[in-house]
Point group: C2
Chain length 163, copies 2
């Protein structure tokens, strides 16, 4: 796939890969960034709202980001190998609607994917278009555990005409 | 401050503390979760959109989360020391409008704060209210570099009457 705005298609789904949330990875992330008892200690987690050790929502989001970026870098490398010029994506006007509909428990395997939700003109930046993505993570039972709407500016081969 | 919904007040601002984004912390986070060249390599960053090594937005968000949680745990510990019953906060219906208006460069010191943006009834959970927070981070020049709207359910001492 090319890295330019004109070549993106609404509805395209990219499978990003899977990640197993081990007890160790959950506790390591939580100790730094989200030291709530149910992310740090099995015993405390049992008597919490969640009932068992579960991952920080910011860990499930950060793992998604890692996979998303590695997927993009791989597409760029493939395009470069074909001799194409690479469009430099960014910056991001921000993310929206970050949700964790179900907990991610220790041992859960989360499979992530990203869809192109919308492709929008960005009138004050005619040389770029706005790519809106829907990121999702599903556990091994197919249940949605993570969702986020992303936005990033992507270079156009041909700038929009002045309005 | 008590940990119950009835005792929260719109507009209350909590200072969460400051964090210096070292080169090492930026590269360590990026290598795991956001391996874009401008988060990993000074040379590559110079020719990027940002012009210098800068932190992943998910690192600035994760550092905010760590400070936010530690601040809440300290309030809980203080309430416990006064012999009060502790309200168990959660879960979160999700975050909104995650934005990074300016890059956080290596060496920047970001000072975080959180304000109570709204306190709302949550009719399908009468025993809890919805706390809406605005989280912000400012660099050493007072410029906004991070912003997020958080939501979390907080127990009421007295459940709402049935509608």
């Amino acid at each position: 796939m090319s890295t330019w705005f004109e070549d993106l298609r609404e509805g395209t789904v990219t499978e990003l890969g899977s990640y197993i949330f081990t007890v160790e990875s959950i506790k390591e992330f939580a100790a730094k960034f989200d030291p709530q008892p149910f992310h740090l200690d099995e015993e405390a987690a049992r008597s919490s709202l969640f009932g068992a050790l579960c991952a920080s929502g910011w860990q499930t989001a950060s793992v998604y980001t890692g996979m998303n970026i590695r997927s993009r870098l791989a597409r760029e490398a493939a395009a470069r190998a074909r001799g194409e010029e690479i469009a430099r994506w960014g910056p991001s006007p921000g993310f929206k609607d970050l949700k964790w509909p179900r907990p991610v428990f220790a041992g859960d395997e989360v499979t992530y994917r990203q869809s192109i939700a919308a492709l929008t003109d960005f009138r004050n930046r005619p040389e770029r278009g706005l790519l809106v993505t829907l990121g999702e993570g599903f556990n091994q039972n197919g249940e949605l555990v993570f969702q986020v709407t992303g936005q990033i500016l992507v270079p156009r081969r041909t700038p929009l005409p002045a309005a």
